[in-house]
């Protein structure tokens, strides 16, 4: 306990005395962690975005033109019963389908008007739950629906989902690579900053050893100083990142409408933020320990 209080006193005093060097160390750590956790924010937001896109994956259930009222209700009930897979369903009448076609393909609108009868079938447009969009529950549902009376066809947009998840895979891959590099950068930076800061102290450590100071007292403050620097750096990084997120959120900027909504940009989950701080402190601690171990 006494030893710990001594270390805390010494470390904070030393941080204060050498505030120039310490500030640089803290800043360096902060920037490394800022970039690192900035990546975490971008990647987690991207994953959320992809999940949302996945959410948009649809199952279209085309109905026969001569479907009876009972048949339509029974199809609706099949969907209602499968609410573990189905997020939402919407009935699209033949007239709605024509309207949508005209909206989506305005240059063909006149052509469609010239048609004798409405060629578009009525359908149920089904939104799937994100959790299920990758496994085979939707496929099973599709098979079941195909056998329901009054259903002409079920179109299940597998290809779209597969493309999306390959994009997600790529994002994750890039994430791991970039994340790895930046973690390495943070470790090297912190270690070097702490070590370099301690080169200037090696005489002091030597003197302490010569007058018989216990090892814990010699190394403790350095380890703690590294830890504090790491923690402060991490805190600074998170604060900067938080402001960056606020700035991004405030932008009235929507690319490819509806696909990305900046105002919903999420910050790091509390557990991740805690991890960043802990990581910073750990790295600083390790750096301080290495530095204090080999002052010669």
């Amino acid at each position: 306990m006494r030893a710990f209080r001594y270390c805390v006193d010494e470390a904070t005093a030393s941080l204060w005395r050498g505030r120039g060097a310490s500030l640089l160390a803290i800043l360096t750590i902060a920037i490394a962690l800022f970039v690192l956790s900035g990546f975490l924010v971008v990647s987690s937001n991207l994953e959320r975005l992809i999940a949302r896109w996945n959410d948009a994956a649809e199952l279209s259930v085309y109905l026969a033109d001569d479907i009876s009222q009972e048949q339509r209700i029974s199809v609706d009930q099949v969907l209602a019963r499968n609410d573990a897979v189905v997020a939402a369903r919407e009935y699209l009448s033949k007239a709605d389908a024509l309207r949508r076609f005209k909206r989506d393909f305005p240059d063909l609108a006149t052509t469609a008007d010239g048609l004798a009868s409405n060629p578009f079938p009525a359908s149920f447009e089904v939104r799937l739950r994100a959790a299920h969009s990758a496994d085979d529950a939707p496929a099973k549902l599709a098979a079941q629906l195909r056998q329901t009376a009054g259903v002409v066809d079920v179109r299940y947009d597998r290809q779209w989902i597969e493309r999306l998840s390959s994009v997600a895979d790529l994002c994750r891959l890039m994430g791991y690579v970039l994340g790895g590099i930046l973690v390495a950068a943070a470790v090297v930076t912190v270690t070097s900053v702490v070590r370099l800061a301690l080169y200037g102290r090696k005489d002091e450590i030597k003197i302490m050893e010569l007058v018989g100071a216990p090892i814990g007292y010699i190394r403790g403050p350095f380890v703690l100083e590294g830890t504090l620097q790491g923690g402060l750096g991490a805190g600074l990084a998170l604060a900067a990142l938080w402001s960056a997120v606020l700035v991004v959120r405030s932008r009235e900027y929507q690319v490819v409408d509806g696909l990305a909504d900046f105002s919903a940009t999420a910050f790091l989950a509390p557990s991740l933020a805690a991890l960043v701080v802990t990581g910073g402190m750990l790295v600083g601690c390790v750096g301080g320990f290495i530095a204090a171990r080999t002052p010669r």
């Binding site: 001594y6 030393s14 002091e204 010569l210 007058v211 018989g212």
Partner: protein, 219 residues
């Protein structure tokens, strides 16, 4: 107290700093170590602090073989030894007071008795008025006295002093020697390396003279 058997110390460039040194210093002795520059005085004291280990021979202090101590034991051993370094070795970022009280403080001495003790040693060396200065703000002689004060604070069983009066005027030197004599009178073994023949003459104690790493006189 100190028992050296055929101790030799050889530095990397094959310079023999000590050669086959055999000597005994009894508990409670006051010994002067003298000899020309480069004779090996500092080297012998450094061996006694276990800053270095002998290349040959055995060196025992208070029954302990200094070559056989673990890192922790070395730290504990050093705390029982008061050492005045030839180049002072003060910590520049600590004040005079902090430099002196550092070890007892980390060992958990109560702050009131420790403060009293620190003032006492500072007064002995005549530096109470400079206690909040930093080492670089002191004159050479003042730094030397701080180093002496640090060596004495712990009530050590063995005091080793390397040229403790090199930067002091004769009057102050004699005062410091009287201080060492006082401590010695209370049972502490004292070994002082010095060139100052005048001082040795005045204090007049057991004197070991080295030259080229060997004992040339022991009386």
């Amino acid at each position: 107290m100190i028992d050296a058997q055929n101790v030799s110390k050889l530095y990397n460039r094959s310079v023999y700093a000590l050669r086959d040194l055999t000597l005994k210093i009894e508990k409670g002795d006051f010994v002067f170590l003298t000899g020309p520059s480069g004779a090996g005085k500092s080297t012998f004291l450094r061996l006694l602090l276990r800053e270095e280990t002998p290349n040959k021979g055995a060196l025992r202090v208070a029954g302990r073989d200094l070559s056989r101590l673990t890192t922790r034991q070395v730290q504990a051993y050093r705390r029982g030894v008061g050492f005045v370094f030839q180049d002072f070795k003060l910590i520049p970022r600590m004040t005079v007071l902090e430099n002196i009280a550092f070890v007892p403080k980390v060992l958990g001495a109560g702050s009131v008795p420790m403060r009293r003790r620190t003032f006492q040693v500072l007064k002995w060396v005549g530096l109470q008025h400079r206690m909040n200065a930093f080492p670089l703000e002191l004159s050479g002689g003042e730094q030397q006295r701080v180093a002496i004060a640090r060596a004495l604070i712990n009530d050590p069983v063995l005091v080793l002093a390397d040229e403790p009066t090199g930067n002091l005027d004769p009057d102050l030197s004699l005062e410091i020697m009287n201080l060492f004599r006082e401590i010695n009178a209370r049972g502490t073994t004292v070994v002082v390396a010095t060139h100052d023949r005048e001082l040795i003459r005045q204090v007049g104690r057991h004197t070991i003279t080295l030259a080229h790493g060997r004992i040339v006189e022991n009386e």
